[in-house]
Amino acid sequence: MTTPQVGDRARIALVLVSHSARLAQGVAELAAQMAPGVLLLPAGGTDDGSLGTSYDVVSAAVEEGLVGTDGVVVLADLGSAVMTIESVIELDDSLDGRVVLADAPFVEGAVAAAVTAHGGGSLAEVLASAEAAGGTFAQSAGAPGGGGEFVPAPGPADQLAGAAGIEDDSPGAPRAVTLRNPLGLHARPAAILARLVAGYDAKVTVNGVNAASVLELMKLGATGGRELVVAAEGPQADEARDAAVAAVEEGFGEV
């Protein structure tokens, strides 16, 4: 009898659902490198290999993942991949409780889940691991998750929000300001803000994300009436912060 490898303890398989067969395959390779021995099943592309997701491809991968395991954790990329796996789970009652979809970014979630599965994690543990990777991702990228409603990630934004109540006169210290635009911090105001702060010798953050990044600002999903916390560091910290606060207060010229 040979000594079991660490990966042999894996009880949970992963199914990776993507619009692209190559993307799913690539993520499987990446995760496999860090978690050898875990059953990683790419389910990307349509039946004929073009871009899209296929009910049949996904459901076959799920069936395969359930053979000899305790369950399957599914990672999915864009909207219809999520909807396809949800449909597979809805149509087949026998999958209830054995197949779960992680609310997690595709790459980070897959890698984190694979590593936990490799260590012998249960279905709940592997799922939690994938979803915790989502939390890390949200903090670093400012993503609020799929709902569109801004949910502050615990961490920098909360600390800043807490600090905002205190009068702090140090350069660039956090200031709270209410977003007046009814449509929220959508593309146009986000672009105005990003361009504005880029003109200062300072690093400005809004709710903990880089205010010079249009994408990060948009990902905040900040809706009208939301409180934003603006802070800055660097030689022009005060000027940059005040300019950003003023721009928000003015509704970016659209209210």
């Binding site: 899209g52 997701t53 009910y55 219809s80 909807m83 396809t84 449909s87 569109g148 959508h186």
Partner: protein, 214 residues
């Protein structure tokens, strides 16, 4: 005309034909604010539905049986987001139409089931520039028409008229759900492809109810 199993089958065949004739329009709309595959995806899906219907040994006993077959076929064959969305719509509609024939309130239940499936799967609410912006007014109008004593066909006609208006109303909307939401403000000024295909599906339902089949 009775809304029976033969109607449900005609509805799907008519949808397939109408998707063919509106394929270019749907694809063009989707090219402007999506990934340009909506017309082609739906066409593939409904052609697969027609093939399934052609292959049936005998006509299903209940309308729900027809819709369930449509649901699973669309999910397997469409490829894009509209597969699981329309698939779940027909699946939920099938659950409330285990009937041989629909009266006005059963037509309302069918449409409500479809809307419920779409919102459960897509998590969209009205105003986000999605197919929900056609389905929600369609259901509201169907409820009102049934309450006012409309015939089953009349309920479908009311739903269609409201869906058409709802689809047009997506033009000035800012997309906040689905692929178009990545475009932000550039999504404004274009009619949503999913809301447009909803109109096609409901137009086929009316056509199948008001014109005799072969």
């Amino acid at each position: 005309m009775t809304l029976d199993v033969a109607w449900a089958v005609r509805w799907m065949r008519d949808t397939a034909e109408m998707v063919v004739s509106s394929r270019d329009e749907l694809t063009e709309l989707d090219r402007q604010i999506g990934d340009g595959d909506h017309g082609e995806n739906l066409n593939r899906g409904f052609q697969a539905v027609v093939a399934k219907l052609d292959g049936l040994e005998q006509q299903p006993a209940q309308i729900g049986d027809v819709l369930k077959l449509v649901a699973t076929t669309l999910m397997s064959s469409v490829g894009g987001a509209s597969g699981p969305l329309y698939g779940t719509a027909f699946l939920r509609a099938a659950k409330v139409t285990g009937l041989a024939e629909l009266d006005s309130s059963a037509v309302v239940a069918l449409l409500e089931g479809a809307l419920e499936g779409i919102t459960a799967r897509g998590k969209a609410v009205p105003g986000e520039k999605t197919m929900v912006d056609a389905w929600q007014p369609a259901v509201d109008a169907a409820v009102a028409a049934a309450d006012a004593g409309a015939s089953p066909e009349g309920v479908l006609e009311a739903a269609l008229a409201a869906a058409e208006e709802g689809a047009r109303a997506t033009i000035p909307m800012l997309a906040t759900k689905g692929r178009a939401s990545y475009l932000g403000e550039r999504s404004i000024g274009h009619q949503d492809p999913g809301a447009t295909s909803t109109v096609v599906v409901l137009r086929a339902a009316v056509a199948a109810a008001t014109a005799p089949g072969e």
